[in-house]
Amino acid sequence: MKTLAKYAIPAAILCILPFLIDAAFGKTWVRIVDFALLYVMLALGLNIVVGFAGLLDLGYVAFFAVGAYLYALLASPHFGLHLPFWLVLPLGAFAAGLFGILLGAPTLRLRGDYLAIVTLGFGEIIRIFLNNLNAPYNITGGPQGIDLIDPVRLGPWSFGHSVYAYYFLFLFFVLFTAFVSTRLQHSRIGRAWIAIREDEIAAEAMGIDTRNVKLLAFAMGASFGGLSGGLFAGFEGFVSPESFNLMESVMILCMVVLGGMGHIRGVIFGAILLSVLPEALRYVGPLQQSVFGRIYIDPSSLRMLLFGLALILVMLMRPAGLWPSPTRKRELSAKGETARHENTNVYDAGR
């Protein structure tokens, strides 16, 4: 009975959520929530690389691009191919995973800042390739991108442009990626990832083949990105290199760090917060209008200003993230315990 309540109530809420949002704020907001779900998938993927294995990746959006473009190329009039969704999506995840290994292999010896620079370069390379592969043969459509991408279709039923249908599709994949992440975290492989994050030399000395395990982390993380990319292409019906710039990578990294690196629920929370918050801050303009009668500060610049301020404040006050893992919390309370203990000892010594 208890487990039923534990799962049934959240499930019911998630099922009626898009309709409630539509009723309260309009369809635009359902669309924003759909995008938030895509970001959750991306953040969970990046969390494997950054949060678990501790490999700082600043070019993560490249894998999102690989998944999206593969979908666009194989299911649009661009090449006249119209492969079904259930085939293209896993292909996209698989291709992104291969790209993950491609990025991982030359960077195995790098850590921290150096790795960040190389991955940043990798992300840009992919974007620039997509931007320029329209001559002499038009492969990616260049800066114009690819449009008229087939919407997701399951059997005879097309998702069309229904924000509700995509909501449930994305929700399914979010639950899937969260499930896989959780299972991986508490497994032999997950422990090896975390061990590498904690101390790579010790991990290697304990018999962990750090090369393979790191490549596995890159491939797993990237395939989540590819999955999300495929869904994005089907949802938007249009892809162009612009959607895959450095800012996107930085944004996804912010979601992971802000939510609580390595903590799956925290990362999900961070992703939802950071994808919804900038949209919510759009209302700052109309708000000024109604309070002061005119707009003092341009809302678009104020939006990013407030957003940056929020990030700085959170990092100052909660460096472990908004929702850190219970272990992290225990670590803090344990420190408190030691401090109390030491204080009593000092007190005893003073008597």
């Binding site: 896989v180 299972r183 991986l184 497994s187 032999r188 492989i189 997950g190 422990r191 090896a192 975390i194 061990a195 904690e198 101390d199 030399i201 010790a202 991990a203 290697e204 000395a205 304990m206 018999g207 962990i208 083949d209 750090t210 596995l216 797993m220 272990t327 992290r328 225990r330 670590e331 344990a334 420190k335 030691t338």
Partner: protein, 255 residues
């Protein structure tokens, strides 16, 4: 008669730039003994350790474990081949619990991959349960079972040393290499460490030990070698070595 030699090191040399850290060091360690490596600071003890655990590749020379040449292999291969180690400066996985640290040590003796982890099939479940049971047993063995759920970095110094030993034992080594396990310990901690090492030996694991605590070394080890400026200057039973004039000179400074 079966070959009693477990690890044979032959003419291993290693230099860093112009510094000869090891010059033609040869020694052999027999099964079931506690073999100590002593020498002044900078004598090359840790370098030799790093060579046989794969962190450094030797410039020349080789070493064999039960007759199999392992020189120049990766550290993870050394662990798989049965050489486990601890570090001079403790290198635990700080933000993992004590139990998780030891479970991680079982990595090379288990084999579930991604698929097993996601679907949690029968094999994977049995293996996870076994991993956890063995890890718990090892925590008990080194005497820190009650701290199983504490983060490694919150353990006391002595317990961290013990945890490192438990983690190394989890790889099911034939040779346990300990780099200054008693460093920073007080008398009673050193005594209980001695008890633990004797117990490990009696359970059939050979121990290679670097240690500065002479009282501990002389009471504990079966044989020892003395390194000075990267060369082996003496080898033998504790009593013989401590009266060797070369050793006395290396430690006290010759005229």
């Amino acid at each position: 008669m079966p070959d009693a030699r477990l690890l044979e090191i032959e003419n291993v040399s290693k230099h860093f730039g112009g510094i000869l850290a090891l010059t033609d060091v040869s020694l052999s360690i027999e099964k079931g003994e506690i073999y100590a490596l002593i020498g002044p600071n900078g004598a090359g003890k840790t370098t030799l350790f790093n060579v046989i655990t794969g962190i450094y590749k030797p410039d020349s020379g080789s070493f064999r474990m039960e007759g199999i040449d392992l020189s120049g292999k990766k550290p993870s291969m050394m662990a798989k081949s049965g050489i486990a180690r601890t570090f001079q400066n403790i290198r635990l996985f700080s933000n993992m619990t004590a139990l998780e640290n030891v479970m991680t040590g079982r990595h090379c003796r288990s084999k579930s991959g991604i698929i097993g982890a996601i679907f949690r099939n029968g094999n994977n479940r049995t293996e996870e349960i076994e991993t956890e049971e063995k890890a718990m047993h090892l925590l008990d063995y080194v005497g820190i079972r009650k701290h199983a759920d504490m983060l490694a970095k919150n353990l006391s110094y002595g317990d961290q040393r013990r945890l490192e030993i438990a983690r190394a034992l989890a790889t099911e080594p034939k040779l346990l290499a300990l780099d200054e396990p008693a460093a920073g310990m007080n008398h009673s901690e050193t005594d209980s460490l001695k008890g633990l090492l004797e117990r490990i030996r009696s359970d059939g694991i050979t121990i290679l030990l670097i240690e500065h605590d002479m009282k501990l070394v002389m009471n504990l080890c079966d044989r020892l070698a003395v390194l000075d400026f990267g060369k082996k200057i003496a080898e033998g039973k504790p009593g013989d070595v401590s009266s060797n004039p070369l050793v006395i000179e290396a430690y006290l400074g010759g005229s």
